[in-house]
């Protein structure tokens, strides 16, 4: 098996939040707790999970916008965590990111040209003319005309802004793009446009995506494989088809049943999970899900279930499958 493009091993991240007015007492927030996965070139991995489960933290750690507190990240053979700062800065040419809210991820003071040209300016020695050409072709690639070079973000619609953000991410011909909820802020009709665009780009350029979202139906549409996160851990990972057809983890099952289906005739036997997602500052013992799990057992309170393969490339962390392993 060839080395995957991205390989994350046992990644963990603890935020030290200063508490109180003086900030003398640190509060520890375990945002990531032993996350491992790998991603082959040209593949799309979807990450789903509820708010605060650590999706964005994962993205930031991979790009090393944050320094993880443990684990390893290998990108195309390089150990990202071992790279010097300047090396990492250069490495970022190959890995880009598109964020949830297109408006807040575009500097309101810059024009479309300046925004898209910024990566070029940072990493290449192109002349302004060359940059203008390149920006125009990038904009065309995401479906925007040259007039968008002079538009400022507030003059854009949500879809246009997200396209601009994409053009910016594509500027340096990256291999790998992290998409952190790129469509959550958009309307359905616009969401469809962006998803189509992403799919098209992937086909043309052979891009590798890490696609983060909390919307199961979106993620399954675009991903080859899906990882479900709960409170800093991946609880289940399998192919996009299997997640719908054969969800194993009780959380995944609940998630599926909670997701509204636009069909009043659909057969509805909901599992409504009680309670709220526990705080990462203060996670439950054992399996973090046991506080809400309809099938919780004694062992769940005491011990975190190790990941097991219930099928080929179907990984679950749940004590329910202890025997079957």
């Amino acid at each position: 098996m060839p080395e995957p493009l991205l390989r994350v091993d046992d990644l963990s991240m603890v935020y030290q939040r200063r508490a109180g007015l003086l900030g003398r007492r640190a509060q520890q927030i375990r945002a990531l707790n032993g996350v491992s996965f790998s991603l082959g070139a040209g593949e799309t991995l979807g990450i789903v999970g509820e708010s605060g489960c650590g999706k964005s933290t994962l993205a930031r750690c991979i790009l090393r916008l944050l320094r993880p507190s443990g684990g390893r990240i290998r990108f195309d053979g390089d150990d990202l965590l071992a790279l010097p700062d300047e090396g990492m800065r250069v490495m970022r040419q190959r890995m880009q990111m598109v964020l949830q809210n297109p408006f807040s991820s575009l500097n309101p003071r810059l024009s479309g040209f300046e925004l898209v040209a910024e990566p070029l300016r940072t990493h290449t020695a192109m002349s302004r003319m060359e940059m203008a050409d390149r920006v125009a072709s990038l904009l065309a690639e995401v479906g925007l005309g040259v007039e968008f070079m002079s538009r400022h973000p507030h003059q854009l619609s949500g879809g246009q802004a997200q396209r601009t953000a994409l053009a910016r991410a594509l500027a340096l011909n990256p291999d790998f793009i992290i998409l952190d909820e790129p469509t959550s802020a958009l309307d359905v009709s616009v969401q469809a446009q962006i998803i189509n665009l992403l799919l098209g780009l992937q086909r043309q350029r052979g891009l590798t995506y890490l696609f983060i979202t909390h919307d199961l139906s979106v993620v399954q549409h675009i991903s080859d494989r899906i990882a479900v996160m709960y409170l800093g851990k991946i609880v289940e990972e399998t192919s996009s088809e299997a997640i719908f057809a054969n969800p194993q983890h009780p959380y995944t099952q609940a998630l599926l049943s909670s997701t509204p289906v636009p069909d009043p005739a659909a057969d509805r036997q909901r599992t409504i999970l009680p309670g709220a997602v526990p705080s990462a500052a203060n996670p439950p013992s054992g399996c973090a899900f046991h506080t809400r799990c309809p099938q919780a057992m004694d062992i769940c309170r005491a011990q975190y279930p190790a990941a097991r393969f219930v099928a080929r490339s179907h990984r679950v962390s749940c004590h329910l499958y202890d025997e079957s392993a």
């Binding site: 800065r89 970022r92 880009q96 991820s105 507030h154 910016r168």
Partner: protein, 286 residues
């Protein structure tokens, strides 16, 4: 605070108080600049006495009367405007130039740099400002420039604080993270992404502050630590006239006082106008 220049201007122009204020300030500035052309008493404006018309009450010849050395008060006011206005503006500009980068760096870099810079700022903030200004002006010697420097020294921490607070919020914006994700250097991020986005509230604050700076400068001049004779600024004029105020020569302090009052008001209205116009949440006022 996202600013759309167009709509800000539109709202600003709808704010009658701000427009009148801007017009008033423009008039004062023009009167100051073209004072030699506008008054027949230009030499008196710059200090030459005319003992023959000492303490003339306001009348046709001298609409605002004359002072103890017989100088036309209108001319004195016009020439005084040069100093009073420029003192206010220079103080604020100097304070901004010192404070903004410090606050930006502290806010952006955080950590011990922030800690150190902010503690220094705290010390300057805790220092009674007028007292510090007086002490510095006294230490440097009384003069126009020193008064500006003295007040600016007490003023920059406010801008450092404001710039830091703004930076802290801008730093959390996704576009900063996006820029870092692209690999843009910190220096460039600070200059290109943070600075322009924190500038609006700082400039708004600056506009508001000019009025107050003029007041403080007038206070320093009032106790003799500002502009030196034979020149005068408005604070000096109030101070010089004060001894005679209740003894029938009311015009000496009244007019320069009014000048300061109206000018400070105009800056406040203008600043308020800009603040409101630039902040969509506040636009309801108009």
């Amino acid at each position: 605070m996202k600013v759309e220049v167009g709509s800000t201007l539109w709202f600003l122009l709808r704010d009658r108080a701000a427009v009148i204020s801007a017009a008033f300030l423009l008039a004062v500035a023009l009167a100051a600049v073209f004072a030699p052309l506008l008054t027949p008493y230009a030499a008196q404006g710059m200090g030459d006495p005319d003992l023959g018309s000492k303490f003339t009450a306001p009348g046709i010849k001298h609409p605002f009367g004359t002072d103890g050395l017989g100088r036309d008060q209108v001319a004195r006011l016009m020439f005084g405007a040069r100093r009073s206005l420029s003192m206010g503006v220079l103080v604020v500009v100097a304070a901004m130039i010192i404070g903004t980068p410090l606050g930006l760096i502290a806010g952006y870099l955080g950590g011990w740099v922030d800690e150190a810079l902010m503690r220094v700022t705290d010390v300057f903030l805790a220092f009674p400002p007028l007292l510090l200004a007086i002490a510095i002006a006294a230490a440097l010697g009384a003069s126009y420039v020193n008064a500006v420097a003295a007040i600016a020294v007490t003023w920059w921490p406010w801008y450092a604080r404001l710039a830091r607070a703004q930076t802290l919020s801008v730093r959390e914006r996704a576009y900063i993270e996006a820029a870092r994700g692209i690999g843009v250097r910190h220096r460039v991020i600070m200059r290109r992404h943070v600075l322009p986005n924190i500038l609006t509230p700082i400039v708004v604050q600056g506009t508001l502050d000019v009025g107050t700076a003029i007041l403080v400068a007038a206070g320093l001049s009032f106790i003799g630590l500002g502009t030196q004779a034979p020149y005068a600024d408005w604070g000096v004029m109030i101070s010089d006239g004060r001894l005679y105020f209740l003894s029938g020569r009311w015009w000496l302090s009244t007019f320069p006082g009014l000048a300061i009052f109206l000018t400070a008001m105009a800056f406040n209205f203008l600043g308020d106008g800009v603040r409101i116009a630039a902040d969509p949440r506040l636009r309801r006022v108009l």
